[in-house]
Structures are given as C-alpha cells and as structure tokens.
Symmetry: C2
Subunit: 469 residues, 2 copies
C-alpha cells in the first residue's frame, strides 16, 4: 500500500518513451500535433483546457491492451476520449499523458431485436447507433441530447437525459461492459442475461467511473420496442411549483410518461427565439406519452386531470411525428438557444438532482440565488427524475460575474444536498465537482479511494477525476 497517487505532471521522458514504443506498434495512429491534442482537452466549459501529450487511436480491444501495457510500464496517464461532450473536465489531462480516442472503435457488433439488446464498440456515437436502429422496430432510450456522444462515454459518465423517467439512465440500460483494466486484463463484466445475482456488480461499478477504474471498449445495451403511438403535450403553469406538483401527482397515479421536461419562462423565451416555436412564456412542461394510441391518449387524459388541479394555463398537443420532432429539437437546442439570445456571452450548464417532493423548493431557491447574485440563468429540467439544469449566461471576462457564477454553483449544490439530493444528476464529477462529491459522499469517499487504489495502483487511469490525486 506504499504507492501514493501522483500529484505532478508525468515526465517528458516517460511520455517520450511511451510514445516511441507506441509509434512502433501503431505507426500511423499516434498524434502529437498540438492542434489535435487541443481538441482532446475540455473544450465545452470554463474549466481550463489541459491537453494530453498525444492522442492514440486504437482499432480494437487488443490495441487498448497494448496501450495500457505501455502506460503501465512508463507510468503515463491514460484518458479515455469518446465524443468530447462531457461538461466537467472529464477529458482533460492535468498530469499530461495520452488521450485514447475511441473513434475508430465504432462497430455495431449486433442488434438483437428478439432479446432487445445490442452490442456496440465504445466509440459508436449515439447518432450512428440511432441510425442503425432506424428500421429495427426497437430504439435505444438514453438521450443526453448530443448525437456526437459515444456509447462508451455515455456509460463512463452514467449519462441520461429526457427519456429517463420511463426508461432509465445508462445505469439501467447497460447490461454488460467489456473493459481493459489498469493491469491490462480484459474483463467482461456480465453475461447477456437480463438479470443475475452472480458476484459483485462490476458493470455498475464501471458505469459512471469516468475512465478512472477501467477503459470501456464495448457494451451490451438494452433496447426497447418502438411504441406504436406517442403523444406530446406542451403545458403552461402559473409557477414552477405548480408544474412540479402536477408531475408528482401524475407519477403517483401510476402514469409513466416517456419524458417530462420543465422549462422556466426565461428558457421558453430563448427557445422560441432560437427555434421559431411560439410557446407561451410561462413555466412549461413538455410531456410525452408512449403506448398504443389508446394507451397514450388515456395517459395524456390522466395527466391533464392532474395538471388542471395545479392551475394548468395553456395546452397544446402534438400527435404527428413532424411536430413532435420540432418540439423536441427545440427542447434539445436549449443550450444553443441561450447562445442565440446572448451571442456575446458564455453559457455554462450545471445540474443537480433531488427527491421529487423537494424539486420545486430546490428550483425556487436556485431562482432566488440567481436573482440575489444578479445573474441571468434559465432553468430546464428532467423533472420526472427530480433533475434540473441551471444555465448561467455571463460575461466571462468580468471577474465579478465569474465569481457570482461560482457562488451560484456552490449554492445550488448546497441546496440540493440539504434537500436530500445529489451534486450531479447526469453530468458527473470530472474535475469540476470533486469537492462537492466529497461533501456528498462523506465516508463513502474513502471507500471509493480504496477501490481506485486497488484497481489502479499506479493511478494511470484518468488521474485527477472523480477523486483527488
């Protein structure tokens, strides 16, 4: 147990040795061009970009094994890189090292519509996967809103999105993983059986481990039958509280919408401006129901009864796929909508998740904090799960505004934890939320640290993420 986590940048010599060795094995798949390295650092948020020393592109699991052997030998950090869409600095290389770009491992190995499963390599993007499923009468439910996200990255960050309330997160939809561990062993974490009580749940240990415990190379995921019908409602409420209470009532009644998305009035305004929609600018739920046509309609009607009890003001309905798509594209473009509305500003996205009964309290406290700090920060949320995003729009060169945003992020997590929630519903920890995770997990941090040390004693896998060096 003498090995300590490193806290210093890997030496130039070690990197050079590792690269020399890798060049021999993969002469044309190791890239040290600073421009390429820069695209493999955090580029999405205000967390400073920390590019790797090089980018290597494996084509198969055995390539990854060889990369890990090299990294182990020379003690060089390895940072898994999928679509680069993560938001908490997950892909940064604070100690230097190699970014493993999985984009060439993008084979869809099998789509099995009888078992409702698929096997994919880690670098398959969500858009590629959805395209392949187009004519199969099945769909993959996890939908973080970025088609360039890879399935491996989504598993590594335990991603979710709009469909979670009915279909679950990556936690619920990854059945098994193939991963290369820090000792270069290749592990398949489970079989293709739908359930198992055979041993420790390595699948769920790796899902959400952000590349710090093993490198995900392939996944078996669950698929769902395409529902024969779907109906989308857009419902305006007097207050966020009313909208949240309607959601609680409807879930208590046993209705299981496929999606329940909340947009606050400010976010509705920005979405209208960006996407050409004309939703009334009040706190609004976008709700989708799946089933047979009769089932979807019945659920919709039960939802409307609950909504009316809570002051439902405006309703419009979309049953045609084209109009439904327009609405969901508008919802998914929320981030871009803020960029359109405030073209010269920086937009950040953060998230927390609380028990449903505490959701309106949490959002209202966030809104008070936003006002108190003099900020603009629209809110959008997967409210069926108690999860919401706050998106501060600010002048990044203004130190006061930066400080105010920083204060807001802290207030938001403190409120969520005080209300029994978590510091991240779906964005993960990365570099950005390590201190918050420590506060949330308490004694659990030491357990996580022991697992990290046991499985990666040289701390070569994505050091500086999830837990401290």
């Amino acid at each position: 147990m003498s090995q300590q986590p490193p806290d210093h940048r890997v030496s130039h010599n070690a990197v050079a040795d590792a690269l020399r060795a890798l060049h021999k094995i993969f002469p044309d798949r190791v890239e040290t061009d600073p421009a390429v390295c820069a695209t493999h650092a955090n580029t999405r948020t205000w967390i400073a970009a920390e590019p790797p020393d090089a980018v290597v592109q494996p084509q198969c699991t055995d390539d990854v094994v060889q990369i890990v052997r090299m990294a182990e030998k020379f003690k060089v950090p390895l940072i898994a890189f999928g679509g680069g869409t993560s938001l908490e600095g997950h892909v940064n290389a604070p100690l230097g090292g190699l970014s493993i770009d999985f984009s060439r491992m993008n084979r869809i190995v099998e789509i099995n519509s009888r078992d409702l499963t698929a096997r994919v390599e880690a670098g398959v993007t969500l858009a590629e996967f959805n395209a392949a499923l187009q004519d199969c009468d099945v769909f993959f439910s996890v939908d973080p809103g970025a088609g360039t996200a890879t399935l491996g990255g989504m598993a590594a960050t335990r991603a979710s999105g709009t469909n979670t309330v009915r279909y679950g997160t990556m936690r619920d939809n990854v059945m098994s993983l193939q991963a290369v561990m820090a000792d270069s062993s290749v592990v398949e974490t489970a079989t293709a059986a739908r359930k198992s009580s055979a041993g420790y749940d390595l699948t769920h240990l790796l899902v959400g481990s952000e590349g710090t415990l093993g490198l995900i190379t392939a996944l078996t995921v669950r698929l769902h039958p395409v529902p024969p019908a779907s109906v989308v409602l857009v419902c305006g409420f007097p207050t966020v509280h009313d909208a949240c209470e309607a959601v609680i009532d409807v879930l208590q009644s046993g209705v299981r919408p496929a999606r329940i998305e909340l947009l606050d009035a400010k976010m509705v305004g920005a979405v209208n401006l960006h996407s050409g929609t004309s939703v009334v600018e009040v706190p609004t739920l976008f709700v989708e129901f799946h089933g047979t046509s009769a089932e979807a309609d019945a659920q919709k009607n039960r939802f409307l009864i609950a909504a009316e009890k809570h002051g439902l003001q405006e309703t419009s309905e979309a049953s045609e796929p084209a109009r439904q798509n327009t609405l969901w594209q508008a919802r998914h473009a929320a981030f871009d909508a803020l960029k359109t509305a405030w073209p010269d500003k920086t937009v950040l996205a953060t998230d927390v998740c609380v028990p449903l009964s505490q959701l309106s309290k949490c959002i209202e406290q966030a809104q008070r904090d936003i006002d108190r700090l003099g900020l603009t920060a629209p809110i959008v949320g997967h409210v069926g799960d108690g999860n919401f995003h706050v998106l501060p729009v600010f002048e990044i060169s203004d130190a006061d505004q930066r400080a105010a945003v920083d204060a807001l992020l802290t207030c938001l997590v403190e409120t969520a934890l005080d209300l029994g929630g978590t510091c991240s519903g779906e964005h993960g920890i990365g570099q950005g939320k390590i201190a918050f995770l420590e506060r949330e997990a308490g004694a659990g941090i030491a357990v996580m640290g022991k697992i990290k040390h046991a499985l990666d004693p040289l701390y070569i896998l994505n050091p500086g993420k999830v837990i401290r060096f």
Copy 2:
C-alpha cells in the same frame, strides 16, 4: 498487500476474547447456545450446516459498528443473518465466527408516497414491510416468495422474483444503502435522488455482495403506485418452446406484463395436488397485467394474440383479487408442492438465467439432462427475464442420486453459460456456486478479489462466500 485470506477456522481464543468484549457491551444480546447457533447456519439445502460460534443481535447501526470493531480487533469472522432464507449457504460460518442477526433492527423509518420511496432497517421482513404498505396506495415490487426474507438480506443477495419483468430486481429497487464497512466506517451509498452521476456506484457494489464487502444496516427502496386494476391469465401451451416464443413475441410488441411465470407439466401437477387448483397439466404460463382496467385488458388481449400464434391450448382468466391470490399462492407454494407430492424426498432449488431467445433451448436441454440422469426435477421460471428454477426431488441418502443431482447442477450451469447466460439469476453465489462464478466471470474474478481485499483486508466479512478464501 501481504495479508492473505485466511483458510483456517478462527481460534477458540479469538472467539472467546471477542465474546467477552461483546458480552460487556451487549450483556443480553449475545447467544452461544448451540441450538440457537444451529438455526443461524444454512438450513435450507443440502449444503452442510456450519453454525457460527455465537449469535449477536444489534439494535442499531452503532451496535453494528461496535461489533465490527471487536471483530477487527480479534480477527473474528462476521456473518450477516437476515431471514435465513438464502439457498446457497450464504449464512454458514465455515471458519466459525459471529452471526449478526438483524431481527431487532426492524424499524420502518419512513414511507414516502410522494417520492415513492421508503426507508427501512435491514432486519425488516418482507411480510412486515408489505403489511405496513397495505393502506398507502403504494407497493414494494420485489417478491422472492418468502415473507420471512429481510430487506437487508434481499439486497445483499440481489434478490428478485415474480414481478421483475416489469418492476426490476433489488438492483433496480434499492436507491441507497447504509452499510458498516470492515473498517467500522458507516457509509450511506447514495442520496434519495432518483438518479445520480456522482462518483462510483457503491449502492450497486453492495447489492449482491452477500455480506462480504459491508454489513447493510438500512436501505432506501423504491415504491410503485398500486395499479388500479390487474388481470391474471393462466395459459396452457403444447410445449415449453411455444410458451417461451409467446413470451418473446409479447415483450417485443411492447406489452409489459407484471409477471410471466412458467410451470412445466410436472410442476403444474404438483401445484394442483398441493393447492387444490385444477390447471390442465401442460406447460403453463401464469401472466399478470397491471394498469387501468382498460390498459390491463388491452395488454391481455395483445398477449392472447401472441399466445394464439404459438398454439395456446387452454386459457382461464382471473380478474377478482381473491382468485388472483389463490393462483399466486399456488405458484409461490411450488417448492412446498413438491414436498407434498414427494413427502419422503429432499427438494433442492437451483436457478440460472439466459437471454430470452435462448430460454427454451436451455430449458429443453435441462429436461433432457434430467431424463438422462434418471431424475425427477420439475421446472418453474420467471420466464419474462429468462430465469428459471430446476427443483430436483431425490433420495438424499442415495449416493447415486446425490451424484446425479450434482451432475445436473453442473450441466445446467454449463448449458446456461454456453447460451450466454449466468450461473445464477437470483439465488446468488454463497458457497454453492463459487466454482461456477469463477468460470462465468473469467478475468472479472481477479477484479472482485482486489475489491474484496481492498475493502476487507482482514477477510472478516462472510469469508468463504462469493470468492474463495
């Protein structure tokens, strides 16, 4: 890393020292009476009973902390004991040590029907929990068929049962755990938020760890709204294959039955004899649908269409709760039914789980192996999950029959693994399936071993279960 797993019984002196210390703290809650110790060993199967040296009954988490401190000091094994209903020798004490009987930790801390969650201590039994939920319009879905099972034990073994196809296993229904770790730290593995991407998934690491990584002291679980209506169908098919194909078709169509249970013809016969039902003795599905009355009926009709395609022979329907209860009680009494039919024989229950598309192949191979080995072994299964039980009925004093049963268990697992399945769908590993788990997990076993060593370096938590000494 010098500490090695022990492979010898704990010394009499160490136990005596630990007991002396515990007697001082809990004068009236430490029991060494051999009769009491005997009831805390494996009593359910042919795995030989290995009683602990003593039984201690904590009343609160802090009591458990003190027990762990004592065990750590004197290096005495600790075996968590819930309802004693596990089937793979989980509660045995092969190295001696203390059984921690959680029966006094049976408080239901909170039932929160707005968040659809409950908080319970680990020793709450399923029957106690269900009784407390009776008038709350919510229910707990996991139903392994033993009311004396405790929620802590069910989490520790990743239990499931008849409702899994719609509502999931303990994996899906435990939101958070409180556990005392081997270093006596108390960990709460997650918050009460419905989803989180904050750090390693300690909840799922502990669910199914069979008391080898931490002692579960309390749980937050998901509840589900009581469906307004339910309908039960009993459907007979020409062959097991036909029944399985009907299940695949119906799940592919998006119908989500609450339960789909298969009984082979022999099992139907035994159930009729025991419970006074008069189900036609052919391969039979018991299927239950939940929803509004219209939804349940619509699902039933879609199921019948699929069933008719696959030779549906006999159908009867139960919509009244009383008749539904009779049917489910008959189904849950399958094990007892075999004891009634063969009063002088021993009955064992084992289980495997395979992908749905391989299920009929796996069951048919099992039936061929049963015949080849000259055994009687009815089959019953949670076939919506690909999980089934084989229940050999045999003369335990007959060495040949014992050997035949042993051969059957091995064949069954080999078939399941060859078909992409798991050696246990819901019974767990315990002592009985360690060799099978090794075969299934491959390189994953080393990962499990490292985690065990990291979290329990003295190997005091349930040694000899899940992984070898």
